[in-house]
Symmetry: C2
Subunit: 384 residues, 2 copies
């Protein structure tokens, strides 16, 4: 028997009580019962987003929320600035280009955080920028970007700040309103502890002004339609409402734990994982790691598939490799949502054994011990 542990940066593991909600008989999506569910999740999403803005629910992958955020805010021929520091940031550019939006790409080295000063300089050079597209947690590199600082820069301009928070929301601190995020996108299958299929978008009054100023090339992803339906706690089309029902249970879990405690748990998992990885002499890929995943460089002489396949075959652990130009160069361990500190320790233990079996000079136990020391230190700090 190999017990499956889905240590991937989305889809991530789903709590058992959330899964069971999905097995309930389907109800009608316009019934009073279905509306009550949306009333509750609408409030819960606002709390998780830390926003007073409405959070709209889309039946789509996270990329659908990104498309909605782009096509509704920037008219064809308008200027979008993309803070490009990874595979998913680059997706902003691809979406914009498909819809005839002009893209100014401000490029950063993959694995490095976006530098707010360079954003300020680029915005001075391009004062006609309609929207700045950034990322909270770049899943392809495992980097957390300084969204609060970037938000301050953008807030001082006419541009709006649009953030892909798909692998970050619920895993790391993000305060939509306080940080000046005008449009925030999230997906269901990451730290929100659901299977994939739902996406979420919040929109600030500043962003609504941009949206209301033109007729966008959007129908299914029209945020105007979504807004008018959300006022009645409804959606424009038949939503994936068994997932919405399950979302209610997932949001109740976050409320019970406390969002700030959820963030702290992810911080502990993240720091413990980083310490373990480094204790094995491995190199972290990112200079500013995100809280929901840890990426490390594949050690010389090994292939990422050797490591990942052995982790799966021998220990039931699923991880992912690199994407695009990072293919073959990194391994990414997800620790978001329904994941705890002992899942991280188990993964490190399995990684130690795997690397040793693959002939790497590692001392089994070192990563686990390093992670334990981080956790014990943090727990002692919390008690003090």
């Amino acid at each position: 028997m190999r017990k499956p542990r889905l240590m991937t940066p989305g889809p991530a593991m789903v709590p058992e009580d959330v899964l069971l909600e999905l097995a309930r008989p389907v109800i009608h999506h316009r019934s009073a019962e279905a509306k009550d569910v949306i009333v509750e999740v609408a409030a819960g999403l606002k709390e998780v987003f830390r926003t007073e803005n409405d959070v709209m629910i889309l039946t789509a992958s996270g990329t659908g929320a990104m498309e909605a955020a782009a096509v509704n805010t920037v008219p064809p021929g308008g200027k979008a600035m993309v803070l490009n520091a990874g595979h998913f940031a680059a997706r902003w550019s691809s979406i914009c280009k498909a819809f005839g939006i002009n893209v100014v790409s401000v490029d950063f080295e993959w694995g490095q955080p976006v530098d707010p000063d360079r954003v300020a300089a680029a915005l001075k050079e391009h004062p006609d920028t309609v929207a700045v597209f950034g990322t909270l947690s770049e899943t392809s590199t495992g980097t957390g970007h300084p969204v609060e600082a970037i938000g301050k820069v953008v807030a001082g301009t006419d541009a709006i700040f649009v953030v892909d928070g798909i692998s970050g929301i619920g895993a790391m601190e993000c305060r939509t309103d306080d940080w000046g995020i005008d449009v925030l996108c999230a997906g269901s299958q990451k730290a929100l502890m659901l299977p994939p299929g739902l996406a979420f978008v919040s929109v600030s009054p500043k962003a609504w002004k941009k949206i209301d100023a033109f007729d966008s090339h959007s129908y299914y992803f029209s945020l105007k339609s979504a807004r008018s339906k959300m006022k009645e706690f409804d959606t424009p089309y038949t939503p994936a409402h068994t997932l919405i029902l399950a979302l209610r249970t997932a949001l109740r879990r976050i409320k019970d734990e406390g969002l700030e405690n959820v963030w702290k748990r992810h911080q502990r998992m993240s720091e413990a994982c980083q310490a373990g990885i480094q204790a094995l002499g491995l190199e972290l890929f990112s200079s500013r790691p995100a809280e929901g995943l840890t990426a490390f460089r594949v050690p010389n002489g090994l292939k990422d598939a050797q490591i990942r396949n052995k982790l799966t075959e021998q220990f039931g652990i699923t991880t992912v490799g690199g994407q695009a130009k990072l293919k073959g160069h990194i391994v990414r361990i997800g620790h978001m949502g329904y994941t705890d500190e002992l899942d991280v320790i188990s993964t490190l233990a399995a990684l130690e054994m795997t690397l040793a079996e693959l002939g790497l000079d590692v001392e089994p136990g070192r990563a686990v011990t390093a992670a334990q020391q981080v956790l014990m230190g943090q727990l002692a700090g919390a008690r003090a």
Copy 2:
């Protein structure tokens, strides 16, 4: 106790074994296991669509498949012909207009079938039509359109034939390739016996030529991206893959029953329901009823909400009213997917009691008996 019976034309009831699949722990969507599932459902969808074309899987409501079908095939400024005979046919026009496509609307009375001769005449008048947008089962009126005959007309032109089969596929005969359907859209929450959240699109070689001829304003719904991923039994973005897993079970049920038997079951339910409604002196709304639902006019002196609320409160049966200009004028009973003849009889029995209690001059038992006679006749015919 009121046992819930979801007699709506989508979302429809979901078999228990399909629901239980949804409660299984989430796996990674790029794993070998997930790919095996897509291989099987890809074949199953082709069978249900009666097509050799690839059927692509989108994470969206059915409307998302309609948007994909429209924006990928007709360039901005190109001409689309919409066969407009109901609320959902009109959605084709709304989608096209949002993307700058010119719409020629060929209008038919709601509740009446599309007349293929008028389509032929309109295509002669508009030989530059890129695509004709039609409907297999118009959910808003309960009408089945003569798709086979329309397909013959369109096949003789340069235009492609795009069909919304969302509430028809799996409920009524539809032979994509034999009938000249170039693009067929379906949704998960109707006769395919799943919760909402997935949509499906098949594309013929004639349609691919139109699609490959220009760069469409689509990213999330790019059929070119979907095609290239489908070749590897994959999807461009993280799909709602717990629904795909459940789809496998639903498709196996259809295969076990036999698609033609599934169509016949829907025919029996449809004819039995129509006979019952008429036996009560009620008027069917459509002159050519679809097999997946039955719509009847609200009898004079009553409001549709009185009937529907009583059905729910007293008997646990959910039905729907009219949409758009039919609001308040009709009641629609769904009988698609995981629904059998006795569900229809139960609904008719409840309707008789409901109408009698509301003061209508109905004789309880008449609708049920009329339905039984239809069923007994059909079953005897099948045995002969």
